[in-house]
């Protein structure tokens, strides 16, 4: 059922009990059933004792349906949410160090920073470290602009995502053991 061709990216948000081994269960489910994890973010959630896992994956609709159901079947998973379309907000963080050997390079960098709304975190005589946040696509574009300036090092986080305020009720979710039709 897994598709070879690159297909649509899907964001899945999982609320799981913060217990040893639970993340391994989720990750193992993906590898064991031949699904791919493009990115993975895990941290505490607002609910005590719960972790929020936000992961992105790819697949045709039947594969995504299976992923949602299989994750939902995990005993300590409380909620699984499939975030798609306009119903959610998404942010990814990127930190990048750029060489700035001369004034011209610094000017060029300043222009990009202004244009993209990124922020300087640290600098030295020869390099600037800049952070940018945005959707994964925003970050892709940011990196396209900044790459020609001479990137020395780069790290990007997994995207995190949340239902847009007010759309929670309408956001598509997998009901626990619900009827799917």
């Amino acid at each position: 059922m897994t598709s070879v061709a690159p297909s649509t990216r899907h964001i899945i948000s999982i609320l799981v009990e913060d217990r040893s081994g639970e993340l391994a269960r989720i990750v193992g489910l993906f590898s064991g059933r031949g699904y791919n994890i493009d990115s993975l973010a895990v941290n505490r959630s607002i609910e005590p004792g719960m972790s929020r896992v936000v992961l992105t994956t790819r697949g045709e609709p039947p594969v995504i349906e299976q992923i949602l159901k299989q994750v939902n079947k995990l005993v300590r998973v409380h909620k699984v949410r499939h975030l798609q379309g306009e119903g959610h907000l998404e942010r990814e963080l990127c930190i990048v160090t750029v060489r700035t050997q001369n004034a011209r390079a610094r000017e060029e960098l300043e222009r990009v920073i202004k244009l993209t709304g990124s922020r300087v975190l640290a600098f030295s005589a020869t390099a600037f470290t800049v952070e940018a946040t945005g959707t994964s696509t925003d970050i892709d574009h940011f990196l396209e602009l900044i790459r020609p300036l001479g990137v020395r090092d780069m790290v990007r986080s997994a995207p995190i995502a949340l239902s847009r305020a007010g759309t929670e009720a309408e956001a598509p979710a997998v009901e626990v053991g619900g009827v799917l039709s």
């Binding site: 059922m1 009990e17 040893s20 081994g21 391994a24 269960r25 193992g28 489910l29 064991g32 039947p62 349906e65 299976q66 159901k69 299989q70 939902n72 079947k73 005993v75 300590r76 998973v77 409380h78 626990v176 053991g177 619900g178 009827v179 799917l180 039709s181």
Partner: protein, 627 residues
């Protein structure tokens, strides 16, 4: 002995049953499928620390098992689980332990016990190699949805991660082959963990649960009170079907003429045999069981088409191919049933009743999914179907009857050697299918499925999903210890039998009324069959060039052995074997190169059925392709 230096054995402060334990004994274990309210994880039964007895972990393990209603466990001791075995010694009168000869045997025995009784089977093993030996059994139970709990010893918490003697990360190893598993890190967590493990094993879609207990946890002490119920907010199996979906299903059953009821192991698990019978009767529906559903519908009933799937009957498979409506109750569109999935029942509307939402639309897209317990959903359906004159479906039945007439199960008998099918016919005629029958995996399993008239689903023990050679004998051990007075049959092959042959010792040790029938063709028959049909008879490593004398093996273990080599002695040998007390092995030497037919080759569509040589002459031209 590893681990024991960490914590000195605590004094057993209360060797007798704790007062709270006695008090709670009357309350039965939580019933399977009972819906639970959301809330806290585990509710303790008004734990009064001042009166609750203080016990060490090992004692808590055995008291918890007893309170869970367990009276029999299968296991094998070792260093890390020694404290618990010490407690087992003290409670022998309340909790019986059966010593197997290999940990794999313990798990299969627990499965056989669980499958034959509907209760949770329990196995206990030590750390490291003891624990890794249970992996096959766990995966087997996972795939066949059998409720078992396995308790494994672990090295002391202070040694975990140190590559200690007999250490294995068994929770990591068994994560994908259990429904859930635990590493208990505090003695206070023991009782609630055991309570929850049993609840998970038996509820929803049942399955295996493993509890890994470090040695120091079994030595530490705490106040013991067994929780009365489990509440897991994140785990709520759906029991009742959605009424609108049930209505849609019932409308389809009324509307479509060429309908088939396709039933699986879920019917046995839910105990929904009567409801299946009632639905079939009221709506005049033909019924075909899967390998796991055998016995859920009487094979003698006129509406039974026999088993479907790779070695199912011609009629059952063609009924699925020609149907305009398939009603799947508690089966999972396994690849052994569907064949090539894009050619599977393309014209049929499909209804799928399953308690596991992830089984729905997994391989085959269905029109009406219903998530719920088979028994409840069928009752909901029956409420909407008044008991009036059943529809005739006359054209459909005529078509099915004609197929049954033309292509029954058949074979050419011989006088110079015993045909395997003949052996199974004799077994059916001698027993009428009334005994519990376990099988191993391979040709004999398929012939047993075709010819043994399983009287009810709990009488049929077979490894369906995983296809585990070696399952049969220990599973029969588990079933024979379930309190039955009847003999238990273990039908096996000369290949499979040798995979857990050591459990003969357990059979004799427990003086089991077990009748082992080895269908001996001196081949790994099913693999040989595939090599004959699909690899131009290049028999690669399937001829058992050396095979032991099974009769002598039986005798060496202290069992009784008989052999039948000629057709004329077959029945007499089987009669004698079945009527001899204790554990009896019958070595039935059969024709070496008989194939199991019908057969849907792997990757072929489910209507591309190979029939035996007897049928070929008169068979309609069907598309043939061997994948």
């Amino acid at each position: 002995m590893q681990g024991s230096r960490i914590v000195l054995d605590q004094l057993d402060k209360d060797a007798s049953a704790p007062s709270s334990a006695r008090r709670n004994q009357s309350s039965p274990p939580a019933r399977q499928n009972e819906p639970v309210a959301p809330g806290a994880t585990v509710q303790s039964s008004a734990l009064d620390l001042s009166t609750a007895p203080v016990l060490r972990g090992a004692r808590i393990v055995v008291e918890s098992l007893i309170q869970e209603g367990v009276d029999l466990i299968f296991g094998y001791p070792g260093g890390a689980i020694l404290h618990v075995y010490d407690e087992l010694y003290k409670v022998q009168d309340r909790l019986r332990h059966v010593l197997v000869r290999h940990e794999q045997g313990a798990v299969h025995a627990a499965e056989g016990y669980a499958q034959s009784t509907g209760k949770v089977g329990v196995a206990m093993v030590t750390s490291g190699p003891g624990a890794t030996n249970v992996v096959t059994g766990l995966q087997n139970a996972l795939m066949d949805s059998t409720p078992i709990v396995v308790i494994s010893g672990q090295v002391a918490t202070t040694l975990i991660g140190n590559d200690a003697f007999q250490e294995a990360d068994i929770v990591g190893i068994t994560r994908p082959c259990t429904k859930y598993n635990y590493l208990v890190k505090r003695v206070e967590d023991l009782a609630p963990t055991i309570k929850e493990a049993f609840y998970l094993a038996r509820s929803g879609r049942p399955g295996p649960v493993l509890i890994d207990i470090p040695k120091d946890i079994t030595a530490n002490t705490t106040a013991f009170s067994y929780p009365e119920k489990v509440e897991l907010a994140s785990y709520k199996p759906t029991i009742k079907g959605h009424p609108l979906q049930v209505k849609k299903a019932v409308d389809l059953i009324r509307q479509f003429d060429k309908a088939v009821l396709y039933i699986g192991g879920g019917v046995v698990t839910a105990g929904a045999e009567r409801e299946v019978m009632e639905l079939s009767r009221r709506m005049n529906l033909p019924v075909t069981p899967t390998l796991m559903g055998l016995g859920a519908f009487p094979p003698s009933d006129s509406r039974s088409l026999g088993m479907l799937g790779m070695h199912g009957t011609y009629t059952a498979n063609m009924a699925m191919a020609k149907a305009d409506l398939i009603i799947n109750i508690g089966a999972r569109f396994d690849d052994r049933v569907t064949g090539r999935v894009d050619k599977f029942a393309v014209n049929a509307k499909k209804i799928h009743v399953d308690i596991d939402p992830s089984s729905v639309n997994k391989t085959v897209m269905v029109d009406v999914p219903i998530v719920g317990d088979a028994k409840h959903v069928l009752q909901q359906m029956l409420e909407m179907l008044p008991d009036e004159k059943p529809p005739e479906r006359s054209a459909w039945w005529a078509e099915l009857r004609e197929m049954q007439r033309r292509y029954p199960l058949r074979y050419k008998d011989r006088t110079d050697c015993i045909m395997p099918q003949r052996f199974f016919e004799e077994l059916a005629s001698l027993t009428q299918g009334r005994y519990i029958c376990s099988t191993d995996v391979g040709q004999h399993q398929m012939w047993a499925a075709q010819y043994y008239p399983v009287a009810n689903g709990r009488n049929w023990l077979t490894s369906g999903g995983l296809g585990t050679m070696g399952y049969g004998l220990p599973a029969a051990v588990g079933a024979a210890l379930n309190g039955t007075k009847e003999p238990v049959l273990c039908v096996t092959g000369d290949g499979s039998f040798q995979m857990c042959i050591q459990e003969l010792a357990t059979c004799v040790q427990e003086n089991l009324n077990l009748k082992i029938l080895v269908m001996n063709n001196r081949f790994l028959g099913m693999v040989r069959q595939w090599q004959e049909l699909l690899y131009d008879r290049r028999y690669s490593e399937v001829g058992l060039k050396y095979f032991p004398d099974f009769v002598k093996i039986a005798e060496a273990y202290g069992a009784t052995g008989f052999r039948a080599e000629k057709p004329e002695e077959l029945r007499a040998v089987m009669e004698k074997g079945l009527n001899t007390p204790g554990t009896v092995l019958m070595d039935i030497i059969v024709h070496k190169e008989t194939n199991v037919f019908p057969m849907i080759p792997g990757g072929a569509a489910h209507y591309e059925i190979l029939l035996g040589p007897e049928d070929d002459e008169q068979k309609d031209a069907q598309p043939r392709e061997l994948a």
